[in-house]
């Protein structure tokens, strides 16, 4: 089981949902980077539930304890380890014998046998995105200092869609941090859609759109180490992600080349493209235009409705009713996770 990522900035994530602690080790951070712990905490809070009717009532405090790599508010250059001690867990909610449909319970069992720590999904829990956000939140501050911003908004909840980013000039200040959408009129409808799903003891999916601005042309590597490969490699580390597309993405497959190709232009003495269908990446390497990508999330598989599963011990079919406290929609809490993926990917190229 290898939960590591990166070549320059190396991330190693550990922990099980209901174990002692979850955490992350980050190797190769530059020394002397100031880390504002309050800002980091704000970033982490966006991932936490419990503050509104449309997410889990399970309150995770996600207080980070740094074991190494930070001293006097600055990175030391040594490997940074940040952990979150676990609390407020109710292991009684989980049943080893009946794997939850849509979860990794069964596949973890197939791989690790009964030794896997299945409580709360163990190492496969969405809770493991918290250490990802520790890394992302730290890198956000380091990247911003270098003029690079990574922002995201809720592109869709179910069939309700927000306005897409302006691909030439995404408004990095146009999104708030609570329930970020570009079209403010759509916000309430999306929230209602989540509440509807919740009331039906069901869940609903959605799409997050993310933009990376401030990246100069020439960042990235060809073939297997392109920006797309790296972002995709991180994003599929976030549970419930089923797809990713860059620039105009799947729509490009239905279009003619003369419409998809972005003409080069000169703007203020710099080479730009007139449109940004390519999403800021050509041949794996940044073009200087904003990097744009969208990530599809399936509905969170933990739902209250009665479901069909099997008993692993009896090898016969069985009913399952999940009683615990679960999100009807993971999308609002996943925004900082997606941004973290973008931040880690870019940091792995330029730090």
């Amino acid at each position: 089981m290898s939960s590591e990522f990166g070549k320059k900035i190396k991330i190693s994530i550990f922990g099980e949902s209901h174990g002692e602690a979850i955490g992350v080790v980050i190797n190769n951070l530059p020394s002397g980077e100031k880390i504002d712990l309050l800002k980091l905490d704000e970033f982490m809070k966006r991932r936490q539930g419990g503050n509104n009717p449309y997410s889990t009532p399970r309150k995770e405090t996600d207080k980070i304890r740094f074991l190494s790599g930070i001293a006097n508010g600055y990175t030391t250059g040594a490997p940074l380890c940040g952990i979150i001690e676990n609390n407020n867990t109710r292991s009684g909610d989980y049943n080893r014998d009946l794997p939850r449909p849509g979860h990794a319970d069964y596949t973890a069992y197939a791989k690790y046998g009964s030794f896997t720590d299945h409580r709360g999904g163990g190492h496969f829990s969405g809770r493991l995105t918290a250490p990802l956000c520790i890394a992302g939140g730290i890198l956000k501050q380091i990247m911003e200092r270098r003029g690079i911003n990574v922002i995201s908004h809720i592109y869709s909840i179910g069939k309700i869609f927000d306005t897409p980013f302006d691909m030439i000039n995404p408004d990095i200040n146009g999104v708030d941090t609570d329930f970020p959408v570009l079209n403010k009129d759509i916000k309430e409808k999306m929230q209602q859609e989540i509440i509807n799903a919740k009331n039906e003891k069901d869940s609903v999916g959605g799409i997050i759109e993310c933009a990376i601005t401030g990246l100069k042309a020439g960042v990235g590597e060809p073939i297997f180490d392109g920006i797309e490969n790296k972002i995709a490699g991180l994003v599929f580390g976030i549970g419930a992600v089923k797809g990713i597309e860059f620039g105009i993405g799947f729509d490009a497959s239905q279009m003619r080349g003369s419409l998809v190709n972005d003409p080069f232009i000169i703007e203020n003495g710099q080479i730009k493209t007139a449109t940004n269908n390519h999403g800021g990446i050509l041949g794996g390497i940044s073009s200087g235009m904003p990097v744009i990508f969208r990530t599809a999330f399936k509905p969170t598989p933990s739902i209250g409705k009665l479901q069909k599963t099997v008993s692993l011990s009896k090898m016969q079919e069985a009913d399952l009713e999940i009683i615990g406290r679960h999100d009807p929609c993971i999308v609002p809490r996943a925004l900082p996770c997606i941004e973290s993926a973008g931040l880690i990917a870019i940091a792995d190229f330029i730090l």
Copy 2:
């Protein structure tokens, strides 16, 4: 520039489109694997153009010369190196000063300066998928011996769509190798769509759907080393790919959890799922159901129509007319590339 992939099976791709040769080094292949060179050649032929009205008239023979790692028809266990010597190139077709829209000409220039070998796209050329297919074609034989098949069909050309795979039981014999579609009635329409684009000096995109069968439950690793991460990391190494989705993919974002979750069932004493919306992967690990993924290709950026670009030397806007021999649609030739990505990903887990 790092054109390497893999942890167990390591692939290192080298070469420039119009250089001496292109090739691949594969590390960690098991010894004693019989390699049928005729079958490998058939696999390579599927990637080559020139045989029909809907692909490039440029004939690439792609004859593989093995420098190491194979003796007497069997792998020796030592690093395998296969190369394709270049010939039939017309470098006069390419202009360094005017980067082609939608190509990596400009980003390669931004990264490597004027030293990059720009002829024919250099290391960024679609031609570099040939070494990928050498690796894929070799692993196809090794994987089939282990009961694992990777097949693909043309899911769409422009707005014309084939029938999707049966996600529970994809018909691995239902697709031919020339222009594989499941719905034979759609074949001619798709080909006509490509010819139309060609006649307009334009190009058209499409989607490839790929299935991996025969994979037992429990293959893959969590978080960053899941099957999705690995396949995505390879697939974005193929030029013109703009998106990837697994199982029902982006559609899941519009659905309720009660419909997306695949109930577990018992079938012939084995645990299966009644549906396969998850596309054979849960938590990065195989469930024993077929792995299904779709990859979106943009229209090939080399088109005959007049386009706008900039002169790098004069830093002013300029017109560009590409005269060379180019594919109006890359999708039919990309099928073995996508299968190779699937084969390499799986081999990296199980060899």
Copy 3:
């Protein structure tokens, strides 16, 4: 700063000597391995000082707290994180301005600037061998279950030499765990040599000889991934190591091939070598004979004697008297560290 090792078994070490905690993340341990915590504690104790006149009076308890990867006494298969919370540190002993000769104080300053956590040597402290021993102690139990033993003895202290291992049949029970030597008569002399150095406010070096038994022929990889490369890559991660040799090592450079070459023989129906000058490795791959290597340690650089150094702030030469509690000889405590290196190296090949 990258403190990671391994391809299959991945070790990531973090922590600073006087920081919150030091620890290790181990990826890819098999699930279901029983870990006897008392045995692990015994292994850790061998690395700790404070119990005798010839090591540091600084008492490190090195109590391991497992944050993940172990449940109910068995590995879960998820990344294992074990930490040691710091205590009993006296940071006042350390002076940032005067780098200690023979230590990494100055090179860390050159690399990380004043942000490095210099207290107690920070991430460069010998204390960071404790997490190495957590990994080694866990793998020792897993390896022994597979018939592989890694043992070591003190080969020399200063100019006083023990009997070398029988290279064909090293006596794995002939060494005790406290101050292991093969020639019991030499033990007291060695200890006296250490006490002499201590009384002179000085320190003394030595050599550790290590044997790995039970390894079948055919383990290891050629060229850069051989057993020697891997063991050396780990051993130089232990502070104060200045050299390593395998089999007869440097002596081979003075001999004729006819004497160095080990003739193959048949013994009990198995291929062996009559002698083991090659130290169990040919071409990076195990021959089935015991792997034997020796590691040279310089005298610990922390000594009480007055030394010459420079003031980093004034850029002028200065006197330094180190007051703290330090080992006059690191060798006796380094034995489990060397064994850990051997264990991790082998585990990285066969797990």
Copy 4:
């Protein structure tokens, strides 16, 4: 079988002694580096035999053919592949059934079975150091442009020792390229020692001392990615190496700390050490003093004398007389290989 090395500069070596070709792929070379092919050829020639009475009469021309990564005499930034086509091989010299003592014939057989290409040692042949030298020779030019020089001399042949390098100021011009020794009086004695061994149908070992100058303080990483780890990891990729030591190396184990510790001093406004027992590395990181290391080579195992081995097919003991053309001493030809290891190690840190 993984014959790869490096994190930034990645080297992948392939080929079998008597196969089609041997070669190397180098990833991540900077673009725009001028490569003087005549100088590269001179570097390669130092590794070749056939020019004098003390090395093999087998003439290897080692003419490099570049398949990619170089255009118009400059690196393009794309992966560089250089190969040497094989010729002048006499496979009849080699016998699969009787593994040669001291060679990897038996261990390769144990690992890969009869599929391994055993001719001439296959992938384990000393011939595979030629691709290593391609990488080293290219990096030598790139490093020299950055003020870094890597030089070596023959420190010993058998029991005949040269003067060691001045560790503070090694004379990088004091060594010639043919049979480099510092003490010219010893040259003939060493050559005679080799001829003596040859006349006895035997072989003799030796030690190479290597110095790296021009490295600023602060290069390298702690724990597992130090300069020692990296150099050792490469050096043990060269056949016949049995040991390595840095600075005063094994001698440090017999000394007191007060003598080993190198006092810091100020010289011309820069921090230096008065002595260089540490060999330019503290805590894995360069101190700004020359990096010094010595590598012990066993006598080449191919000797004409009658030896004892076993028949793999009959599993009984047998006599072996090796008839082929072999070096009585590998040390003179190994100098550029050792320098290549030093060059690749340093390049992997600073490019």
